[in-house]
């Protein structure tokens, strides 16, 4: 790990100002991803701003009947919250499908959205990676790509976004609230939060460097049956090969998003019109234009079958 200076802050505005005023500064909350990457020198911040003392660690109802989740709410507390379990079951299901009990006690709502890919070449500093070192090349194309993206990638990067929580947030139409050093706040729809790699795979979100996530807001509950189905190499504590977040209504309409297949949670609203026709029709539209590698082409039939299983589970 490279040496870094460290400070604690007590408000979101102070946190954003602290990061803006120090070159190479980063926010740290749970630290479960950032510290891991710092140990490998994939991340090497010169200064860390510890945001654990800024508050933003509670859940509050919104005037619109939704739920505002503070950015510092830990994944385990979010999953266990009675309102989330009752009204946003897909979110609880996605959260408890991710990481381990220990990590969920540490990881935060904001940090979960910002976690970085687990592409093996991003982690291997001896190999080229456009995300880690822009312009160096992509080792995953033609390399070990079993875990990686089948859609949404580019000729520069086929990394997947590793989060389960974000897939549920996408299907729930969540919004991300932020603050910057000058005090400016904004609300970013989750659909616009994660960027596709294009030719700048190192830029992963819509955030500016001094922009801090303060909360994630869920709209009023939409009812329906909530399912999160995750397929992975072992029964627990592994990243998704494919996952499906689904909210299915009694009349067969609903929403679906996929995890594990793209650089961001993969949802195509137009594909959802095909839900009453079944999984195959939805998967065809959802994954139209997919460009799998030789090693991860299995994800296309796996996604369709996982979707079929999720829909069948929702209707049973």
């Amino acid at each position: 790990m490279k040496p870094f200076s460290y400070e604690r802050v007590t408000s979101p505005a102070q946190a954003a100002a602290a990061v803006a005023s120090q070159p190479g500064a980063k926010f740290i909350a749970g630290g479960t991803n950032l510290l891991d990457l710092m140990k490998l020198q994939i991340e090497a911040p010169a200064h860390l701003v510890d945001v654990n003392g800024i508050g933003m660690d509670t859940l509050e109802p919104t005037p619109q009947g939704g739920l505002r989740i503070g950015a510092l709410v830990r994944n385990s507390d979010l999953a266990a919250h009675p309102r989330v379990r009752r009204d946003y079951g897909v979110l609880t299901r996605a959260l408890v499908a991710g990481a381990s009990g220990q990590l969920r006690n540490m990881a935060t709502t904001g940090g979960n959205l910002l976690q970085r890919t687990r592409c093996p070449y991003f982690y291997d500093t001896n190999t080229p990676c456009n995300k880690r070192q822009p312009g160096s090349g992509c080792s995953a194309l033609g390399g070990f790509s079993r875990q990686l993206a089948v859609i949404g990638g580019s000729a520069e990067c086929i990394a997947t976004h590793p989060s389960d929580m974000a897939v549920a947030m996408r299907v729930l139409d969540a919004s991300v609230e932020t603050v910057r050093a000058d005090g400016a706040t904004r609300v970013i729809p989750i659909a616009d939060f994660h960027r596709l790699p294009g030719n700048t795979p190192h830029i992963e979100t819509a955030l500016q460097p001094d922009e801090l996530i303060t909360a994630v807001t869920l709209p009023a509950p939409v009812g329906g049956t909530h399912v999160y189905r995750k397929v992975r190499d072992r029964a627990s504590y592994a990243f998704a090969l494919v996952s499906v977040a689904a909210i299915v209504q009694r009349d067969g309409t609903g929403r679906v998003a996929l995890g594990g297949v793209a650089p961001r949670p993969w949802r195509v609203e137009a594909a959802e019109a095909a839900l009453p026709q079944g999984a195959q029709a939805v998967a065809e539209r959802l994954l139209a234009g997919a460009r799998p590698t030789h090693e991860n082409a299995f994800k296309l039939p796996l996604a369709e079958r996982t979707l079929a299983a999720a829909l069948s589970q929702a209707r049973s």
């Binding site: 040496p3 460290y6 891991d36 379990r85 609880t92 009990g101 220990q102 029964a235």
Partner: protein, 211 residues
């Protein structure tokens, strides 16, 4: 000659480059590296309460909670396995909640109450889980055991508080105590000896006694 777009150097180029870098390595590092490229370590104070005792430490900011416990407070019961949050050997309780101490900086725990395996019980007065692990042979080499036991303390507390898990059939209801639930809740603790079934038996016994 074969070329590779991702690795534009040929094997021959690489050998030549290696030979010249071997010669260059005789040059003192300070001559090759600008001094501002090597930042100095930064120290910061932190107060931790560990197993009921307060400690004022002055640490390199890079020190993880795990290294603070082992290297500075000499509480070596907490083990370093992978040091990347993947094995659970370093699990401790911070303010009563289980965490992996390798993925947390010590300076982030100002004023926190940390409980390690040394704080759960003593050889004369072991924690019920320590006794149960011994009785059920919940280990072979023992390296993962402190992390397993601290994790089990946290997991049983989460279960009592009604926190749902991936194994819970109904996420709204109070979760059941079952082997399936315990296996899922303990999945962050790896045991390369494979004592899992006995670990589940040990935890089940303690959970049923408390219920």
């Amino acid at each position: 000659m074969e070329t590779n777009a991702q690795f534009p150097l040929s094997r021959r180029d690489l050998l030549i480059a290696s030979a010249s870098s071997a010669a260059a390595s005789a040059v003192p590092v300070s001559a090759a590296t600008p001094p501002d490229a090597v930042p100095s370590p930064v120290r910061a104070p932190v107060r931790l309460s560990v197993n009921g005792s307060a400690h004022d430490l002055d640490l390199d900011t890079r020190t993880t909670l795990l290294d603070a416990l082992r290297e500075h407070l000499h509480l070596t019961g907490t083990k370093k396995g992978c040091d990347h949050g993947q094995c659970g050997a370093c699990t401790v309780l911070v303010d009563g909640r289980r965490v992996v101490s390798c993925l947390s900086l010590a300076v982030m725990h100002q004023g926190a109450q940390v409980t390690t395996i040394e704080g759960l019980g003593t050889p004369a007065a072991p924690h019920p889980l320590q006794t149960a692990f011994v009785q059920h042979d919940g280990y072979q080499c023992g390296y993962c055991t402190p992390g397993q036991i601290c994790s089990a303390v946290g997991a049983l507390d989460e279960l009592r508080r009604g926190a749902p898990s991936h194994a819970s059939a109904d996420i709204v209801a109070q979760p059941m105590l079952s082997a399936e639930e315990l296996r899922e809740r303990m999945s962050g603790n790896l045991c390369r000896c494979g004592a899992y079934s006995n670990i589940v038996d040990a935890i089940t016994e303690v959970a049923e006694a408390k219920a």
